[in-house]
């Protein structure tokens, strides 16, 4: 994928990437749930309901996630009820780091963290080829 193609397309999280993010969000809840059920059944049920809502929120947010490259900036937008948009100037990017766990590898995705002085932007579960192309475009000198 070239930079020109990246400028024309937006990065979204594919269904497999969303599934990985939901699994990550669900694992701490699964670990904690037995201990909460140990206290009382009612507390366990409330905890499960709250945690399910949290995982659902992660799923909704990943569905609405979009990131795109412009000639000057990297822009990210996510959220339905509380939309948030972030914009990092390409010129300010000082570092990148890409994460690939076995689950992400199976899903063909990776997590990209873009750093600039004082701020960072996390692009979770984006397709690996697009993440690589984006990293290459951002590490080059900004136009």
């Amino acid at each position: 994928m070239t930079e020109r193609e990246l400028l024309r397309t937006a990065l979204v999280i594919p269904p497999r990437g969303r599934a990985v993010l939901c699994v990550w969000a669900g694992v701490p809840g699964l670990v904690c749930a037995p201990f909460v059920f140990w206290q009382s059944i009612a507390a366990g049920c409330v905890f499960c309901a709250v945690w399910t809502a949290l995982v659902f929120e992660v799923w909704v947010r990943s569905c609405s996630f979009a990131a795109w490259l412009t000639p000057k900036d990297l822009v990210m937008q996510a959220g339905v009820a509380v939309p948030a948009a972030r914009q990092l100037p390409r010129q300010a990017v000082t570092g990148l780091f890409a994460l690939r766990t076995p689950l992400l590898w199976l899903a063909g995705c990776s997590v990209l963290v873009v750093r600039c002085p004082g701020a960072q932007l996390i692009l979770p579960g984006v397709p690996a080829p697009q993440a690589q192309a984006l990293a290459a475009a951002l590490t080059e000198d900004a136009p």
Binding site: V82, P83, A84, R86, C116, P117, A119
Partner: protein, 451 residues
């Protein structure tokens, strides 16, 4: 060419030793259980041994640690104690530096040098001798062909008044009283006894609680004024082609140098006091360096600020379009104002003695509410000649900010209600992680953001 290695001032070790005070409490835990002189004596001996060991280790580290500057002004610091830790800082990446010399440091010929690398959240603090500190500052950020300005007369008075910060003075007072408690238990009592005398005098005309509040406020403001006046003494601000700087202070000497290339923003603060004095304090920020003292006070009809900071512009002096704007501006002051008003109404029938003090508090909250109203009408974001201009309200102050950093990170966050009326909160993150938030701006006003 690299200069010879130089050592640190012994105060560097005192800084480390100060952080080990908690360690000396560990042997004293045993005394709590034993509760006899023998246990106390053993604990004191253990503390003495611990202190001696730590002092010897610190002295060895001080003796072995060095710093040096090469011909390009790049700084290398070497900490050696068993392991060797080297840290380098390129002169070009230095955004700002400050040299502080409080009274105790001046007596010991020491200076505290704080270096602020560009874009980093952590600064680097060095304890050097006075001569070394000046030499390091001149090598890393040399002052060449400086155009200097020293405030005189009314400008100096405005500097002292506008630089006064009651909150910091209050914090200092509380800290001082707390610190003095273990050594002189009656210091707090004596201080409050003096205040009580003043309050008794004021209480001839006012109810006791109100008089006490007014006297305390007055004393704090006077202390803040005195501190600010001491900072304004011998004050000079200068500009070269590449940097801005200032120095001054009567008791606590202070010097600041900021590289213009790394300047994040300049902030002109307006308040009722600036309106009365016709001067506004100007604060500058570079990387993580946010000086407490204003760089200068600016008479608004003069071109001085534009000469000092080329390209500086103020946001337009007109109200913004407040149609459908969030009413959250009024919440921080509105809640206490409503609460005090309710309590005043209740006290009128139950505790009439408290009505006047509560009315004073309601009045103070009401003044903050007026400040919120000013923010509601004037807070906003503009773009002029490629620069982003902000106006933000904090309490009584309106911060008029001109952004110099070409690459701030932008974040727009909308609530469901803000989405409906096409408004958003905009946060600018500058190098060093410093943030400034403008509330409830129209989406069409932030055309520089790709929403």
């Amino acid at each position: 060419m690299t200069t010879a290695e130089r050592g640190f001032h012994p105060f560097a070790v005192l800084h480390v030793l100060r952080k080990t005070i908690l360690l000396y409490l560990i042997p004293l835990v045993q005394v709590l259980f034993e509760r006899n002189w023998e246990a106390l004596w053993t604990a004191l001996v253990q503390d003495a041994v611990l202190f001696t060991v730590l002092a010897l280790v610190s002295a060895a580290a001080l003796h072995a640690s060095r710093w040096q500057v090469d011909a390009q002004g790049n700084l290398t610091i070497r900490w050696r104690l068993g392991v060797r830790l080297d840290r380098s800082l390129r002169a070009g990446q230095l955004a700002a530096l400050t040299i502080e010399r409080p009274l105790l440091y001046r007596l010991a010929n020491a200076s505290k040098v704080v270096l602020y690398p560009a874009g980093q959240k952590r600064s680097l603090t060095l304890m050097l001798t006075r001569k070394d500190a000046q030499w390091l500052a001149d090598r890393m950020m040399p002052v060449e062909d400086a155009v200097a300005h020293t405030p005189h007369g009314g400008e100096k008075l405005a500097f002292a008044v506008l630089g006064a910060n009651s909150l910091s003075t209050l914090a200092l007072l509380v800290l001082a009283l707390r610190q003095s408690e273990p050594y002189a238990p009656d210091a707090q009592t004596a201080a409050f006894a003096h205040l009580n005398r003043l309050a008794a005098w004021a209480a001839r005309w006012l109810p006791m609680g109100t008089a006490w509040l007014l006297v305390l406020g007055g004393v704090l403001f006077c202390a803040s004024l005195a501190r600010s006046a001491a900072q304004a003494a011998h004050y000079t601000v200068w500009r070269t082609d590449t940097q801005l700087g200032s120095r001054g202070g009567l008791v606590r000497r202070y010097e600041l140098r900021i590289r213009l290339r790394h300047l994040s923003f300049a902030d002109v603060r307006r308040s009722p006091a600036t309106w009365a004095l016709h001067y506004s304090p100007v604060y500058v920020t570079a990387s993580r360096c946010q000086p407490e003292v204003p760089l200068l006070v600016w008479r608004e009809d003069g071109p001085f600020l534009q000469e000092l900071l080329p390209g500086f512009a103020l946001p337009p002096d007109e109200p913004v379009n407040a149609h459908n704007r969030s009413k959250l501006f009024f919440l921080p002051a509105g809640i206490p104002c409503g609460l005090f008003l309710l309590l005043t109404a209740v006290s009128r029938y139950t505790l009439p003695g408290l009505t006047v003090p509560l009315l004073v508090l309601t009045g103070i909250a009401g003044v903050f509410l007026l400040g919120a109203w000013a923010g509601y009408r004037r807070e906003g974001v503009w773009q002029k000649d490629g620069r982003i201009l902000l106006r933000i309200q904090h309490g009584f102050h309106l911060h008029n900010i001109c952004v110099f950093c070409p690459t701030p990170a932008l974040t727009a966050l909308q609530s469901p209600w803000a989405v409906a009326v096409r408004r958003t909160n905009l946060t600018l993150t500058f190098p060093g992680g410093i943030r400034r938030k403008v509330r409830s701006v129209r989406c069409e006003d932030i055309s520089f953001m790709d929403l």
